[in-house]
Symmetry: C2
C-alpha cells in the first residue's frame, strides 16, 4: 500500500469519530440533509449522502435531534435541529475531545506518562 | 438506548480514530505490546490486546513501525519503534488532527462556515 493511501485512510479514521459531534454542533441552527452535507464537506468531512442520512435518522431516534417538515416550498424538506439531550451529549463529547487532544499533544511533546 | 450508552459509544468513536496516531507517537521510544497497552490505557484509550496486537503487525507491514526481538530476558519480547515513514505519517496526521480540532472549535463557537 502506498503512503498516500495509508495517509488517506488514517485521515478518514480521524474524521469519522468527529462526524457525530460536527453534525450536532452544526444543527444548533436548523438544517436539512443536503445543506448539511455541503457544510460538512466545506469543513473537510468528506461524508457521503448514504452515510449522513441514516446517521441523521439514528440521531433522531436517539432523541439527540428533533425534526420538522417544511412544506412551504414546492419540495418539502425535513429540517433537523439539536435537542436539549443532543446539547448535553455534544458538551460531553467536546470535553472528551479536549482530553484526547491534550493527550495527543502531550505525546507529541514526548511526555508519555 | 440510554444516554450513558450513547455517550460511551461516541467517546469510543472519538478515540478509535486517534489510536494509530497515539501508537506511533508512543513508539518514538521502543516498546513491546503489553507495556504499550498499559500506556494507552493510562491515556484513556481503552484498547483491547486483541485489537492492539493486529494493529501493531499491520503498522509494521505498512513500514510505519520496525521491530526487534529482545531475547536477553527469559521471555523474549518483540520491541516496536516508529520508522522514518511512520514519523512522516504521524506528522501529517497531527497536522490534520489540528485542522479537525480547529473546525470543531469553530463550530462550537457558532462560526459554521
Amino acid at each position: 500500500m502506498e503512503f498516500d493511501e495509508i495517509l488517506a485512510g488514517g485521515q478518514q479514521e480521524l474524521r469519522r469519530g468527529t462526524v457525530v459531534l460536527a453534525c450536532l454542533l452544526l444543527l444548533r441552527e436548523p438544517g436539512y440533509g443536503y445543506a448539511l452535507l455541503d457544510r460538512l464537506r466545506d469543513l473537510g468531512f468528506s461524508v457521503e449522502a448514504n452515510t449522513l442520512y441514516p446517521l441523521l435518522r439514528r440521531l433522531e431516534t436517539q432523541a439527540l435531534l428533533v425534526s420538522e417538515w417544511d412544506t412551504s416550498d414546492a419540495r418539502p424538506r425535513k429540517f433537523y435541529r439539536i435537542s436539549p439531550t443532543g446539547e448535553r451529549l455534544a458538551a460531553e463529547l467536546l470535553a472528551d475531545w479536549e482530553r484526547i487532544a491534550a493527550s495527543v499533544r502531550r505525546l507529541n511533546q514526548g511526555v508519555s506518562s
